[in-house]
């Protein structure tokens, strides 16, 4: 949308009046709407003297937004945030995330009992035994059993099943081999998933995996209703067919428009679920979200506000800046041998020459937090030991060491690739200026549409490119693992035996303290040698109506309606 928010009120009124003159013939049409909601204009006038606007008061049920039409409601097939947000309300894993991550240092505190009322871990940390609660039920009243989990996980792991996130289950013993075997050779007996009885589930892992409890709360690990899946096939997720085991049922879904949720009466914790009905509006455009919020149609903006509008909202009591477990960074392509970027000193020079604080404060209105490391600083139970500094002097030295700059070779022009987005453009332009002034390096900005950007990244057809990563679980591994040799997310051509070895050692390490040390060492290698330049840590800038209680900050932006309520 156009940037009218900065024009003065008089100018806007003038423009609108000009339009009104042109629309005289349409005045009659407008009357209908005017008669319908006369009170809103009064509200709008009042709001100027009040606190701007007050949201949610007009909505009948709890209303929030997802930023895209969910691609699927099948938890086995989903990958995106909008799908995940709906899935978290409809389904429940063995464990569930607590309402907040704030103030939690021990990753163990992040999880609460879900379908499993408790679990035991074997001494070597590799076998988990989950004890399912007796009263866990599907929305049709049937009990949720360990066989449901075995069925669901087997379904995902079935060779050829189109589950995008199937690799999440590879922590389970034999799972990867089973998934990658030929259909006729796949042997389920080799996979470490057992159900000794209806209420016990045993899972054997490849390694002691401290974040496994959190994985069980990830949608890929959710149970799916065997009965509905077998009966309706791909259509089991339609509102008329779907059976869920979470706090809510889906009552209707209109593509591109809305999803309606209703509290499930069979949910084991139904008595503590305060919100009876919820409406999820699908609004991809962030400006449209803020407009809907201003028109008192939403209790929660759901997605982060557009940067261009932050200034209008920043002082409003409904505005919140929540932490997010994510990092915005630059990828550096190290695979081209003739490129100066193959030299670690050049990469270090670029990192030293990046003034993250001024970029965040001056260019991005202070919305995010300058990244002083790669793994976000709000990761419970982990603290980076390496910091990335802004130091132009060191930057120049580093470049000189690589044989470029004064007295050395001329630095060839480098391209900086980013996908179309106002934010990315601002960041890229700022970095272009910083590298030019601090190092004299010429940067050419290359802007591409999303899918082409993805292809270029995938094909290593770039020099430097923007990137972002939001953690899948609260463990540094979710950030570090992607840079191991050959990982599908590496996309930089970088490979380090030492780094890979450290990750392997961390995987096998049962002692949490030692494990953290190993991961810190790996992060140091990645940041000092590696193919990445951290820029900032994400935050989530949202609007939440003051009528809403229980919507606490969560670093993975997971918010369960079951914890929330609306004040009268």
């Amino acid at each position: 949308m156009i940037g009218l928010r900065n024009t003065s009120k008089t100018a806007r009124a003038g423009l609108a009046m000009l339009l009104l003159l042109g629309l005289t013939g349409l005045a009659a049409c407008d009357k209908g709407g005017g008669e319908k909601k006369p009170e809103s204009s009064a509200t709008a006038e009042k709001s100027a003297t009040d606190d701007g606007f007050r949201a949610g008061s007009k909505a009948d049920s709890f209303t929030f937004v997802v930023a895209a039409d969910p691609e699927t409601f099948d938890t086995a097939k989903m990958t995106g945030a909008p799908e995940g947000r709906i899935a978290m309300q409809l389904f429940e894993g063995l464990l569930i995330p607590g309402p907040t991550t704030e103030g939690l240092d021990d990753p163990k505190d992040l999880m609460r009992p879900g379908v499993a009322k408790s679990y035991d871990i074997s001494e070597d940390g590799k076998t988990y035994t989950f004890h399912l609660r007796e009263d866990a039920k599907w929305s049709n009243g049937e009990p949720v059993t360990s066989a449901d989990f075995v069925y669901s996980w087997k379904r995902i792991l079935t060779p050829g099943f189109p589950a995008d996130y199937v690799s999440m289950l590879y922590v389970i013993k034999g799972a990867e081999a089973y998934n990658k075997s030929k259909p006729e050779e796949a042997d389920w007996e080799t996979v470490g998933i057992r159900a000794p009885d209806a209420k016990t589930l045993e899972v054997e892992l490849n390694n002691p995996t401290p974040f496994f409890p959190e994985l069980t709360a990830f949608y890929t690990f959710f149970p799916v209703p065997e009965k509905a899946v077998e009966e309706f096939g791909d259509e089991w997720t339609r509102p008329e067919n779907i059976i869920t085991n979470g706090a809510y049922e889906m009552t209707s879904y209109i593509s591109q428009k809305e999803i309606k949720l209703k509290k499930s009466e069979h949910y084991w914790d139904a008595k503590n679920v305060a919100i009876n009905e919820a409406m999820v509006r699908i609004i991809p455009d962030r400006n449209a979200v803020t407009n809907a919020y201003r028109a008192q149609e939403l209790h929660w903006s759901g997605t982060s506000l557009p940067v261009s509008q932050i200034a209008d909202f920043i002082t409003h009591p409904d505005y919140r800046r929540d932490p997010l477990l994510g990092v915005y960074y630059l990828r550096v392509n190290v695979s081209k041998e003739d490129s100066p970027l193959a030299n670690a000193d050049v990469r270090r020079a670029l990192s030293y020459a990046t003034d993250r604080s001024s970029l965040v404060d001056d260019v991005l209105s202070g919305l995010y937090e300058a990244a002083n490391s790669y793994v976000p600083n709000n990761m419970p139970g982990y603290e980076s030991t390496t910091t990335v500094d802004y130091n132009p002097r060191k930057a120049a030295e580093s470049l000189k060491k690589a044989g470029y700059g004064e007295g050395g070779k001329a630095m060839p022009k480098i391209t900086l690739l980013y996908n179309s987005d106002e934010n990315h453009k601002l960041v890229a332009e700022s970095i272009q200026k910083q590298w030019k002034s601090n190092l004299g390096v010429e940067i050419e900005l290359v802007n591409k549409e999303w899918k082409i950007y993805l292809q270029d990244i995938d094909n290593l057809n770039y020099d430097v490119a923007r990137a972002g990563w939001i953690g899948d679980y609260n463990d540094p591994m979710t950030f570090l693992e992607m840079f191991k040799t050959g990982d599908g997310n590496n996309d930089t051509g970088w490979s380090s035996e030492k780094y890979d070895g450290l990750l392997e050692a961390a995987r096998a390490e049962a002692d949490p303290a030692k494990r953290v040390k190993i991961l810190q060492e790996a992060e140091t290698i990645l940041v000092t040698e590696g193919p990445i330049i951290p820029i900032y840590f994400y935050t989530n800038n949202v609007l939440v109506s003051r009528d809403v209680k229980g919507l606490e900050p969560h670093n993975r932006d997971i918010h369960l309606l079951k914890y929330m309520s609306l004040s009268e």
């Binding site: 629309l23 189109p162 995008d164 428009k257």
Partner: protein, 339 residues
């Protein structure tokens, strides 16, 4: 007349087939593919399900997605190397074209969306009513404003009334809907609170989008009608009508108007098609769950089947409307005959 209609209908089928074939080829030519995501995922599953490891046409292969090599890739019938060009061949049956066209022609099955787990047909069917209603309402707005304004200006040529009406029309044509839409939202939805800023739950919610979409066409129709009126009002038969002593009202309504709106009628076909296709921007601005928004998302996501579905829908509407306009022409203008 019926022979003409039949001939045109058969011709239309060929036109549509050509459009689908070209569209299919072009979608596959676009860089990147539907299976590529930000995070490394199970690309092989996506490729296999969508048959992207097949050649597009028998002697043409565009796709070779990189990860295909790791998946169970399609085996070419033969490989031909002509200098720098390397061609893989296959039978017709094993092509993406056949996989798409056979279900389409035999059961009018538009296939599955490659992005969502829903059918293209049902998704389009759910979105179509919004786009149709929006388009028709916008057309109504356009005609309701455009025709009277054009007639009014045409009958008062070179007067203040003519100039001011045409100036407004010029403004109407000049304001793009991505400017008008947000302005209307700001004033009527956010400041006055008369309408909702976006979404579509009742008829009232469609007022602002209809105006946004229709106003441009109103202005254009006003100019067309004015031109038609100016031309017709100078004709001999109008002079005769006036000489007979008919009232000015009778002359305009009974004689001049039919001729004056002829240019508008011939503009109707393209206008309706443009209104439906033009709703893309308006649907985005007002967040309406219509076909236009689907099309944009599908193109950006390289959702080949969804793109083809919308292309088929739009081109069918366009072809059908053009036919309708030709028929309508014979009704309004007795001089036109196709027999």
């Amino acid at each position: 007349m019926s022979r003409f209609i039949l001939k045109r209908l058969i011709g239309s089928v060929f036109v549509l087939l050509t459009i689908v074939t070209l569209a299919l080829w072009i979608t596959r030519m676009a860089p990147s593919n539907p299976c590529l995501k930000e995070r490394a995922t199970n690309t092989c599953g996506c490729i296999a399900v969508n048959k992207l490891d097949r050649p597009v046409f028998p002697v043409y292969t565009s796709v070779p997605l990189e990860p295909v090599e790791a998946c169970d890739a399609w085996e070419p019938a033969s490989e031909v190397t002509l200098g720098p060009i390397h061609i893989l061949t296959s039978g017709w049956g094993d092509t993406q074209y056949a996989h798409y066209m056979i279900p389409l022609l035999t059961s009018f099955d538009l296939g599955q969306s490659m992005k969502t787990d829903r059918g293209v047909g049902e998704t389009l069917w759910a979105a179509l009513p919004y786009t149709l209603q929006l388009g028709l309402q916008a057309l109504f707005v356009a005609l309701l404003i455009g025709v009277p304004a054009g007639l009014y200006a045409g009958l008062r040529q070179n007067t203040m009334a003519d100039y001011s009406t045409m100036t407004l029309a010029m403004i109407g044509v000049s304001i793009p809907n991505f400017v008008l839409g947000p302005l209307l939202i700001m004033f009527f939805a956010l400041d006055l609170g008369w309408f909702r800023p976006n979404g579509w739950d009742s008829w009232v919610d469609s007022v602002l989008p209809s105006i946004t979409l229709g106003l441009y066409y109103a202005a254009y129709i006003a100019r067309l009608t004015r031109g038609g009126m100016l031309e017709i009002i100078r004709k001999d038969f109008i002079r005769t009508a006036r000489a007979k002593g008919l009232t000015e009202h009778a002359v305009v309504v009974a004689h001049a108007m039919r001729g004056a709106i002829l240019p508008v009628v011939s503009y109707m076909g393209p206008a309706v098609a443009a209104l439906l296709a033009g709703s893309v921007v308006v649907e985005e601005i007002f967040n309406l769950p219509g076909v236009g928004k689907l099309f944009v998302r599908a193109a950006l996501n390289r959702d080949y089947n969804m793109v083809l579905g919308t292309v088929i829908l739009y081109s069918t509407v366009l072809v059908f409307l053009n036919l309708l306009v030709d028929i309508l022409y014979t009704v309004i203008d007795p001089r036109v005959s196709y027999d």
